[in-house]
Symmetry: C2
Subunit: 205 residues, 2 copies
């Protein structure tokens, strides 16, 4: 709080309290992510846009991923969840990922806000790169590191393609058979696919 | 042309030529699909909205699928293509589908218009059911018929989930590794997945 007041006094403008500063940083971050993309956006540029010190942005929101998570109002932080998921044996990582995604999206609040994010991320030429940048940097690179093969970037992206298709067909298009299937049934079908992409052969045995 | 004129005279209103009638039917169809969904929309209701005889709608546009194809201005008619794809051996249907989708979307005009359709179909609660209805009725039911097992509806939808994820990650999100991969490489990775969904075991051997 004292930092906020100090900033306010130093800038010499009338402003509201900490809530206003937080909102101003969030607005600046949303604009900066939209313009520069996830990778191009810097905490320094966001701070400049919000007319505050960069230290204050870190103080309020932590890392760039944390700040992005705050701008999209997500009830699940996939970049944090993935660390836990990667912490188990590689040979059933596919199943852990598919089950985590389904268990999360079956919760009404996750699904509701996830749908807003996914629809926004897929709907325009402007928003897709921001979502893609976040996914690439915070999820796919970590998965690829864990997989560790020379073609790991493609493997992680192939896994993402099946997860994206699951979300699109079950929760956006709501194809009747995808809606009707149980989580266990979908895990049984999809986990071997994701696992093959991550650690299996291009030509299945 | 004479039918159009007859209609015009009978209705007794000043109107333009056949081009106007065609456009009026297309507008009526777009509105009807949006309101009633693909399955709910009837040629009769579209004709009534356009204030023409239903026979005229058939005369200009053929089937409901043809008319839907016209409203979305698609350079590829997946409902027609699928008949050709289904006309080969079932054991490599997965490869034929994946290769057809990639070969089509690698063409600039297909990709451009496909992206407009896909973004529109995924972006809102209103448009998703129309796209889903068309996919379900004109593609998935035919694939399921060809597969012929009791769980064929789910199998066809699982195949659709991988195809949807391919389109989303390569053409909308443009994940770098998905962009960089060759068509042959993607076919080699994805065809076995789609084939397993269509004809393989839930638990791979």
């Amino acid at each position: 709080m004292s930092e906020v007041r100090a900033t306010k006094r130093r800038r010499g403008r009338p402003r509201g309290g900490a809530g206003d500063t937080r909102e101003r940083i969030l607005s600046a971050a949303t604009a900066e992510f939209a313009e520069a993309g996830y990778d191009g956006a810097t905490m320094r540029a966001i701070a400049a846009r919000a007319d505050v010190d960069a230290a204050l942005v870190h103080h309020y929101f932590g890392t760039k991923a944390d700040l992005f998570g705050a701008t999209i109002d997500t009830p699940i932080r996939p970049d944090i969840a993935i660390r836990t998921l990667l912490n188990g044996p590689l040979e059933d990582l596919g199943e852990r990922i598919v089950r985590f995604v389904l268990d999360s999206w079956e919760q009404a609040d996750v699904r509701r806000r996830g749908l807003v994010l996914l629809r926004a991320g897929l709907s325009s030429r402007a928003t897709a790169p921001v979502l893609a940048g976040f996914l690439a940097r915070e999820l796919l690179e970590r998965i690829a590191d864990r997989v560790g093969t020379p073609d790991a970037a493609l493997r992680a992206s192939l896994a993402a393609s099946q997860i994206a298709g699951l979300l699109v067909t079950r929760y956006i298009l709501r194809l009747p058979a995808m809606r009707a299937a149980s989580v266990d049934d979908l895990v049984a079908w999809l986990a071997p696919t994701v696992q093959r992409y991550l650690t299996g052969d291009q030509t299945p045995s």
